[in-house]
């Protein structure tokens, strides 16, 4: 079936003089900027590292809204079809794209090199003008045509399946608090969905344009068992039994990398697990579909450095267990971090060496002589008027607010991004909406601010700090 499809695409891309069979792999490299291009914008050169299609049209190739710009969807199923103002359901649709004939290889080459659309309109000046060969354009077209907009398996006509993962180390009371919050939210959401579905039957317009993406949600608690090395297999089995669209919250004190990897390989938006530590990833791992509240140790150590610099301390030493690569990276990146031998030699010369001690609960203690601070990713109790009101209304106010607030944030974020979904329920596009939208959403957590952006996968950018043995936690940013 695939080769037949490829053949059809090649035929579709037959241009004026001759057919060029595009190479989708090469096209993907162009799209993501792995192969750099020459481009001009507003009369200036736009450097190769900054002119890839993906920078504006995004991972999904469905475009986006930023500033006062509408960056149109350019996946092949839109580009190579005639467009009308109704094309693309909820997707960004620029005025230059309205009422245009389907792009051909020739007209796409024309638009990319000269900035004139097949309808004869000039594209906005922020769209770069590229130096591209017809072969390049054929490659790009082949890649864009691969993005076929199949609805992911976790979405059915009447239902969206979501999962939340709980690893075996988690205390039952904690996971119950999280599940109670997620379930209360989903019950209320599903109650409202009944009316939205009823409204969709009112008129042709509402069937065509509105309410089409409403589904009731079903949450599957995926409780992993046994040793961590068996989790990838358990997760695959669970996913095969009932595919899900994404994950909301989740809880673990152990290594989350198995869940992270499932979300990346199956392209599932996995939002805001409640973790002790960030997953132990390697260079080969991608990190697009997973978003987290906090980067843990990485941010804590930056905060520690910030504090030590403010105290004019020039040397620091790590004490206690830390993953070897992190140790090594620290020693390499900043000469202020001393190895054990260096520390004792510096101390023998009378210099002050601060001690930085990662704790088992994932906080970090920093001390200079008698003076010390503790750095943590969330204070023990969270007072948040917004989530408290909601929890009270739902009879959940007695549960630990740190857990319920974070769970509420995760499930609210899922509702927010699904409200932007296009008809293909593109997970990548949903995540791209979260990158832009999180900052404007209510914050139910104890974190000072939450925000994301393209490439950012940790929403809280600072840590909580308590001086000495006090319980007064304040928010610090490195």
């Amino acid at each position: 079936v695939l080769s037949l499809k490829a053949l059809l695409l090649t035929l579709l891309l037959v241009s004026g003089e001759r057919a060029i069979a595009g190479n989708a792999e090469r096209g993907k490299a162009l799209y993501f900027g792995k192969t750099t291009l020459s481009a001009q914008v507003s009369g200036a050169d736009l450097p190769g590292q900054r002119n890839a299609c993906v920078s504006c049209h995004r991972h999904s190739a469905l475009g986006g809204f930023e500033a006062d710009l509408v960056v149109p969807a350019i996946a092949g199923r839109f580009l190579f079809q005639p467009a009308s103002p109704l094309t693309g359901h909820s997707l960004p649709w620029a005025i230059e794209q309205q009422e245009r004939p389907a792009y051909t290889l020739d007209s796409l080459h024309e638009a990319l090199t000269t900035g004139v659309s097949p309808a004869g309109r000039r594209l906005r000046s922020v769209m770069p003008r590229y130096q591209l060969t017809r072969e390049d354009v054929a490659d790009l077209s082949a890649y864009l045509s691969q993005l076929d907009g199949r609805v992911p398996p976790g979405v059915r006509d009447d239902k969206i399946y979501l999962a939340t993962v709980i690893t075996p180390d988690v205390q039952e009371t904690d996971s119950q608090a999280m599940l109670a919050t997620l379930n209360a939210f989903i019950r209320a959401k599903n109650a409202a969905t009944r009316q939205e579905l009823a409204r969709s039957r009112v008129s042709a317009r509402s069937q065509q344009q509105m309410y089409r993406n409403y589904r009731s949600w079903e949450l599957l608690p995926w409780r992993l068992t046994g040793a961590a090395h068996t989790w990838p297999q358990q997760l695959e089995t669970l996913f095969t039994q009932q595919p899900v669209f994404g994950m909301v919250s989740g809880m673990s004190g152990a290594d989350w990398s198995a869940i992270h990897r499932l979300c990346e390989s199956r392209e599932l938006p996995c939002l805001f697990a409640q973790l002790r530590q960030v997953p132990q990833l390697t260079e080969q791992d991608t990190a697009f579909f997973n978003v987290y509240f906090h980067s843990g140790l990485a941010t804590h150590l930056s905060v520690a450095e910030h504090w030590l610099k403010s105290k004019d301390v020039m040397h620091y030493q790590l004490q206690g267990p830390l993953p070897a690569p992190t140790q090594l990276a620290l020693l390499n990146q900043n000469s202020a971090w001393l190895s054990d031998e260096l520390a004792s030699s510096v101390k023998s010369k009378g210099a002050v060496v601060a001690l930085v001690k990662p704790q088992p609960d994932s906080s970090v203690e920093v001390s200079i002589g008698q003076e010390s601070i503790r750095i943590a990713d969330a204070p023990p109790a969270v007072v948040n008027a917004r989530s408290n009101a909601w929890l009270l209304k739902n009879g959940l106010a007695h549960l630990p607010t740190r857990i319920t607030g974070m769970a509420l944030q995760a499930v609210t974020a899922m509702a927010e991004i699904l409200s932007h979904a296009d008809l293909s329920f593109s997970a990548a596009y949903c995540l791209e909406r979260l990158e832009h939208g999180l900052e404007s959403m209510p914050n139910y957590t104890g974190y000072e601010r939450l925000s994301l952006a393209p490439g950012q996968r940790f929403a809280a950018k600072g840590s909580f700090v308590a001086l000495g043995g006090s319980q007064q936690w304040t928010w610090w940013q490195p």
């Binding site: 914008v41 920078s55 986006g64 309109r121 952006a453």
Partner: protein
């Protein structure tokens, strides 16, 4: 026939819209506070002090993970800087981050490096509240970084008002505006 007239009108409207892809007006900004801004090399600067210089100043806002015009605007300003140098016109460039939570000096260095930027151009980050205050003062704050406004501000000399250029001017237009002032 009716359809044809409508098409013509649309075409005219759209070409007019392209011809004026930016708008300009004089803007009163008021006195700049004493916020401590951090440059790419990690040193502390004061915008108020920078603006005490008699030179022409070109100022804009950006963030490193922007997925729209930050790169194109920076590229255009970088070319503008080169042209002004060729004309021996001394102009100070200042770019202010609207995402100081993520835009560390290191992140900004990485963002800037491909653009071939000359001396006399500062990129600043700082405390969230300070950068927010500056966005409000220059009237570019639109509620979130994703909703940022495409604005370049030009101040011809010490004490003069700012010229606010909003939209997507091309290089030639920007050069005219800076040189004319």
């Amino acid at each position: 026939m009716k359809a044809r007239i409508l098409t013509l009108a649309l075409l005219m409207t759209s070409s007019w819209a392209i011809a004026s892809d930016y708008a300009q007006r004089v803007q009163d900004v008021g006195a700049i506070g004493a916020a401590r801004l951090i440059a790419r090399d990690g040193r502390v600067h004061s915008l108020a002090q920078d603006l005490e210089s008699p030179e022409t100043v070109v100022l804009n806002f950006f963030f490193t993970s922007c997925s729209s015009f930050c790169s194109t605007q920076t590229a255009t300003l970088a070319e503008l800087q080169k042209r002004l140098m060729q004309r021996n016109k001394k102009v100070r460039f200042i770019s202010l981050s609207i995402d100081p939570d993520s835009d560390t000096p290191d992140a900004i260095r990485k963002f800037v490096s491909p653009f071939g930027i000359g001396a006399g151009w500062q990129f600043y980050t700082g405390k969230f509240d300070d950068m927010l205050q500056l966005q409000k003062q220059f009237d570019v704050y639109r509620g979130s970084k994703a909703a940022h406004a495409p604005v370049v501000l030009i101040r011809s000399s010490l004490g003069s008002k700012w010229l606010r250029v909003e939209g997507y001017p091309d290089l030639a237009a920007l050069e005219r505006l800076v040189v004319a002032r």
